[in-house]
């Protein structure tokens, strides 16, 4: 079962290497407004960048486990004890807008629909 899922991912992965990059879509995912000039320059740079990282395809990694971190730490826990936390006023002082003891944000719910 797990093997089949990985096979499917690899097949899809192979196709991914050659796809053109939709920079506007990626920027949307990253919540980053780009100017038309930036769309053009980043598009070219990303395409160029992918030709460099393409080299990784030379390596057979079929049976290699992925490394997320190198020190082999497992389930680090600690006492569930109450300790002092940051001073609320100091934290809120660093926010662009605060209201009482809250971060203030533009209306999200009930905006014109």
């Amino acid at each position: 079962m797990a093997l089949a899922a990985e096979d499917a991912a690899c097949t899809f992965g192979e196709r991914a290497w050659s796809m053109p990059i939709d920079v506007r879509y990626v920027a949307k995912l990253a919540r980053l407004a780009l100017s038309p000039d930036e769309v053009e320059s980043y598009g070219a740079q990303l395409t160029d960048f992918l030709t460099h990282v393409d080299a990784l395809r030379e390596l057979d990694t079929q049976d290699v486990p992925a490394t997320a971190q190198v020190i082999h730490a497992r389930n680090v826990g600690r006492e569930d004890a109450v300790t002092p936390c940051l001073a609320r006023d100091e934290v809120l002082a660093g926010a662009p807008q605060a209201y009482g003891s809250y971060f203030r944000v533009p209306r999200i719910i009930g905006a014109e629909e």
Binding site: A9, C10, F12, G13, E14, A16, W17, I21, V23, V26, A27, L29, A30, R31, L32, A33, L34, E38, Y42, Q45, L46, D48, F49, H52, V53, D54, A55, L56, R57, L59, T61, V64, P65, A66, T67, A68, Q69, V70, I71, A73, V76, R78, L86, A87, E90, V91, A93, G94, A95, P96, Q97, F103, V105, P106, R107, I108, A111
Partner: protein, 491 residues
């Protein structure tokens, strides 16, 4: 030559000098030279003098502090409560930290004096400090050249004698490359050795805090203070830390130094390659045996790193959205507010890496790029483990060239290549440092520019690493053969 941290702490602990006196001299020095160097983004004169007074009081009450009165520069991606912490970015230009990073806290408790916050490439992304949105830092050995990066301000501060020790953070080479460029020692401990609580995150599986100093012994002294488990950072390792500073060897008898076949210096200009051939011979003269080792997958380090680090950065930097910290640019709705804030707040390199990382993590590409890179990372770490069956320490160049001129690397990938030798080491999480090993006069310059030797040991073998570097440094004294361009820098 100016005093080392070891000497200053001895003087202050013996009450031959006061921490206040040392601090006043250091602040005056910054006043004279930092207009040329630009190492600091924020100066903390008042805080420094106040803290020095506290150190004098503790010493007066009979305490002995490992860093009593030692002038310290702090990279500006580390929080110090009540002072601004900018990360060299417009998005945090006015943000004041509500707490202090553990590494900084430990240094202050050990008696170090915080002189100020130093310049860096924005969010520690870069190799020249040119990506800072808030200031220009110049190389004290040639003011027309970059100090390296991302911890360029910290390296330049120590090189210009505007601090005796400094903190840096290293994700792919950000301590070692600027140390090499500025003729100082720069040390990245094993991943997890030093708490990162209060370090603004860039790539969490790679980031590590470490010291800059003028001598290996001073770097060891700082390491002894900052290393060790911290309950505030679950990724800090709970292993005993052997003290290093007073336990450093000064010969290399019986040490096998691995020279990496694939890191051949043939591709480097002959004058640069010569510096390393000579450095390897110097290691031999001290009693080491040179052995040939192979890291066949190290050449894939750069490609691997530039998928993993941007992926993690795109995730970590999602928190800068105009809600909790720093800058906000209003929009017609909340999404437009996020998009405009981030567009106005981030610089070109940060945007580039966020886009690369978002792409590499996006649906349909995750396995092809991110997982693939994580698998290659396994191979790179395994190559190092195998190499260390045949040697005790690996030696290589720390950077691909000496410090270059401003605006010399306009193509992003040519900048990334500066870290060719440091990146594989970071991916494997290994402890590593750069120690001065000679100088060359670049083709486009007239002043000799320093070079760094990178040394690497297996995980958690910091004492061995610092010992080998100490022996090399004591025998060769390369750093003292160069004079900074800054007037009276080493007066």
């Amino acid at each position: 030559m100016a005093q080392t941290a070891m000497e200053i702490a001895a003087d202050v602990n013996a009450r031959r000098r006061s921490a206040r006196e040392v601090t006043r001299e250091a602040l005056a020095r910054i006043e004279r030279t930092d207009g040329d160097v630009g190492a600091y983004l924020t100066r903390l004169d008042e805080f420094a003098l106040e803290h020095a007074e506290g150190v004098d009081a503790r010493v007066g009450a009979g305490e002995t502090l490992p860093l009593a009165g030692v002038p310290l520069a702090i990279k500006d991606n580390m929080c110090v409560r009540g002072t601004r912490t900018t990360c060299g970015s417009k998005i945090l230009a006015d943000w004041v930290a509500p707490y202090t990073a553990t590494a900084v806290l430990r240094l202050l408790e050990a008696g170090a004096i915080p002189l100020g916050k130093t310049n860096l490439d924005e969010f520690a992304m870069g190799s020249s400090c040119e990506n800072s949105a808030l200031g220009v830092t110049r190389n004290p050995y040639d003011l027309e050249r970059v100090p390296g990066g991302s911890s360029g301000g910290s390296a330049a501060a120590v090189a210009a004698d505007e601090a005796v020790i400094a903190t840096g953070s290293d994700t792919g080479g950000s301590i070692r490359e600027p140390a090499a460029f500025c003729n100082v020692v720069g040390f990245k401990p094993t991943y997890g050795r030093v708490s990162r609580y209060g370090l603004v995150a860039f790539a969490s599986s790679l980031d590590q805090i470490g010291p800059f100093a003028r001598t290996v012994e001073d770097a060891a002294l700082v390491y002894d203070v900052i290393a060790g488990k911290d309950p505030m950072d679950a990724t800090s390792v709970d292993l005993p830390v052997e003290p290093t500073a007073r336990h450093l060897r000064d010969d290399l008898n019986g040490i096998r130094v691995g020279i990496v076949r694939e890191f051949t210096t043939d591709a480097l200009p002959a004058v640069v390659a010569d510096v390393y051939s000579i450095a390897y011979r110097e290691l031999e003269k001290l009693g080491a045996t040179l052995v040939d080792v192979s890291l066949p997958t190290a050449q894939y380090g750069l490609a691997t790193y530039y998928l993993i680090a941007p992926a993690e950065c795109s995730s970590n930097l999602a928190r800068f959205d105009g809600v909790r910290y720093g800058l906000r640019v209003n929009g017609s709705d909340v999404t437009e507010m996020y998009e405009k804030t981030r567009a106005a707040g981030f610089g070109a390199e940060v945007k580039r890496r966020i886009l690369i990382g978002t792409y590499a993590l996006s649906s349909g590409y995750y396995d092809a790029y991110y997982v693939k890179a994580q698998k290659v990372r396994t191979l790179i770490a395994a190559d190092f483990a195998k190499a260390f069956e045949r040697c005790d320490v690996i030696a290589s160049p720390a950077a691909s060239s000496p410090a270059f001129r401003f605006n010399a690397k306009s193509d992003p990938y040519s900048m990334y290549l500066m870290d060719y030798y440091t990146i594989p080491v970071s991916l494997a999480g290994l402890p590593s440092l750069s120690v001065p090993c000679g100088a060359v006069i670049p083709e486009d310059g007239t002043r000799p520019m320093p070079m760094g030797l990178q040394l690497v040991t297996p995980l958690f073998e910091e004492r061995r690493l610092l010992g080998v570097a100490n022996a090399f440094e004591k025998a060769t004294q390369h750093a003292s053969k160069l004079t900074p361009q800054i007037a009276g820098a080493r007066a």
